[in-house]
Amino acid sequence: MSKKILKLLVVHTYMAMLTVPILFMIVWYFMTATFNSYTGSFSLDNFAFMFGPIESMGIKLPAIWPIVLNTLVYSFTIVMIEVLISVPAAYAFSRLDFKGKRNAMKFLFIMRSFPGVTLIIATFFILVKMNLVDTYLGIILVAITGSLPGHVYIMKGFFDEVPWDLEWAAMTDGCSRFRAFRKVILPAVKPGIGAIAIFSFLGAYGEWFLFKLLIFSDTRLIIGGYIAKLITEENVIVDYGLISALGLFYTLPVILFYIFSQKIFMKVNIGGSKGV
C-alpha cells in the first residue's frame, strides 16, 4: 500500500509542478483585471462593460448582454446542426461500405490542411453570390463546414469502438438498420456525441475571425468578436486591464460548462461500459 501512496505522491508532485505556472497565469489575469496599474489600488472599473456600452482608447464596445445572447444562440445552433450532420456522416464512414470511402476519409484530413484564412476571400464572394453575406445563416454554414471534418473523425472513432456484435445482435432480433442505430448504437456513442458537442460549442463560442469579415454590424457580434475589437489595425493590443476582465468574463462560464459536462461524461461512460 505504501508503494501506491508513494507513486501517487510522485504523480501529484510533477502534476503540481506542471500546473503551478497555470495557476500563476490565472492569478495574474485576476490581478490585472482588478488592480489599477497606476495607483496600484483595487478597483472593479474594468468590469464596467457589464453595465452598459463602454469606450476604451477610441474603441467603442456595445452593451455586452445582447452580445451574450447572440453568442448563446449562435453556439447552440452550431452544436445542434453539427451533431445532426456529423453523427450520421460518421456512422456512414464507420459502418457502411460505399464507393470511394477510403478516399473520402483521406479527403477529410486533406480538408483540414487548408488554413481557414486561405479560403476566406473566396468564401466571401460565394456568400455574396448566395446573398448570405452579413447573415447568421451564412456564417453558421461556413463555420460548420470548417469544423465538421474534425468532428466526423472523432465521432467515427467512437462508432468504431462499438462492437459489431451489438448491432448484429439487434438486427438479428428483427430490428431494422435504422432502429438498431437508434436503440443500440446511439446510446453506446453518447460520450462521443457529448465530446463533439463540447468541441463544437467551444469552437463556436470563440469564433471571431468569421464575424469580423462576414458580419457587418456591431450589434450582431458574438463575444469572441467583441474582444477582438480591442486589437488595433496595427495588431497592437490595447488596455490589458480591460482585456483581462473581458477574458475572465468570457472564460468563467465555459469552465463551469466544462466541469458540469465532465460529470455527465463520466457517468455516461461508466454506464456504457457496464452494458458492454
Binding site: 490585472t32 488554413p115 473566396a122
Partner: protein
Amino acid sequence: MFILPFALLTLTFFILPAIATVWMSFTDLDVKMKPNFIGLENYIRIFQDYSLGEILQNTIVYAVASLGFVLLLSLIIAISTQYFMKGKTVATGYRVLWLIPSLFPSVVFAIFWKYIFDPTENGFLNKIGMHLGAVDEPVSWITRYAMPIVILGTVVGSVSSNVILLSSSINSIPEDLYKAARVDGAGEKSIILKIILPTLRWPLMYITITTLIGFVSSYFFIMLLTDGGPMHDSTTLALYSYQQAFQLKYYGYGAAISMFVVVIALALTLVLLRLFDFDALVQPSRIEE
C-alpha cells in the same frame, strides 16, 4: 443519405472556395479586385524570395517542436489524471486548470506572455532576474528568443483539447483490463505501454495530424506576440501568407503562398497517414443490408 448534408456543405463552402483560391493564386488580385491571369508568376516569385529558406525553416521548427511538446505534455497529463488519479476530484481540477489557457481567446492569452517577457523592468522575468541578480539590466526577451517564446505559448495553449480527447479514450478502457494485467504481475510501466498506449493509437494519430497541420497553418497567435519579428525570426509560412495578403493587400500573391502551405500540409498528412498505417484503421464493414 447519411452523408448528404455533409457532402453538400463541403461542396459549397470548401470545394468551391478551394478551387477559387487556386485560381486566385494565378492572378495579380489586389485591392482593385480586378484580377488578371498572370500564370505562374506568383509561384516563381515565391521560389525566388530570398527569405523563403529562413521562413520554411521557421515553419518546420515551430510546427515540429510545438507538436513534440504538446504530445508529451498531453500524454503525461492524460495518463496521470485519467489513470493514476482516475475518478478523483483533484484530477478534474488539474484538467480544468489546464483547460483555462486554451479557453482564453488569443488576444487575452497573448497579453500574459507579453507581460512575462516584457523588455522593461516591469516584465515578470526581468523583475525576477534583476532581483536575483541574474541579469544587470532588463533583457529584451522577445527580440532575443522570439521563436522559443512563441513555441512555449503555443504549447501551453494547445495541450488541453488533446488531453480531453486522450482522457476520454483512456476512460473507455474497462477497469477489468487493468485488474487482469495486475493479477498477471504487470507493472505500471507495462500497463501504460501495453494497454493504454495501444488504445490511444487512433486519437494519437488524429492529434498528431490535426495539431501538426494546425501549427503549419496557424499564424494569429504569432502575429499578436511577435508579428514574425525581429526580422523574419519568427515568421512562419502561414503568417507570411497572411502578411502578404492582408497586411500588404496582395491577395493573389498571398493566395499563392497559402497554396504552398497547403501543399506542405498535404504532404505531411499523407506521410503521417502512411506512418500510422491509416488503411488498416479503416475497418471494412461486416454487416450487409
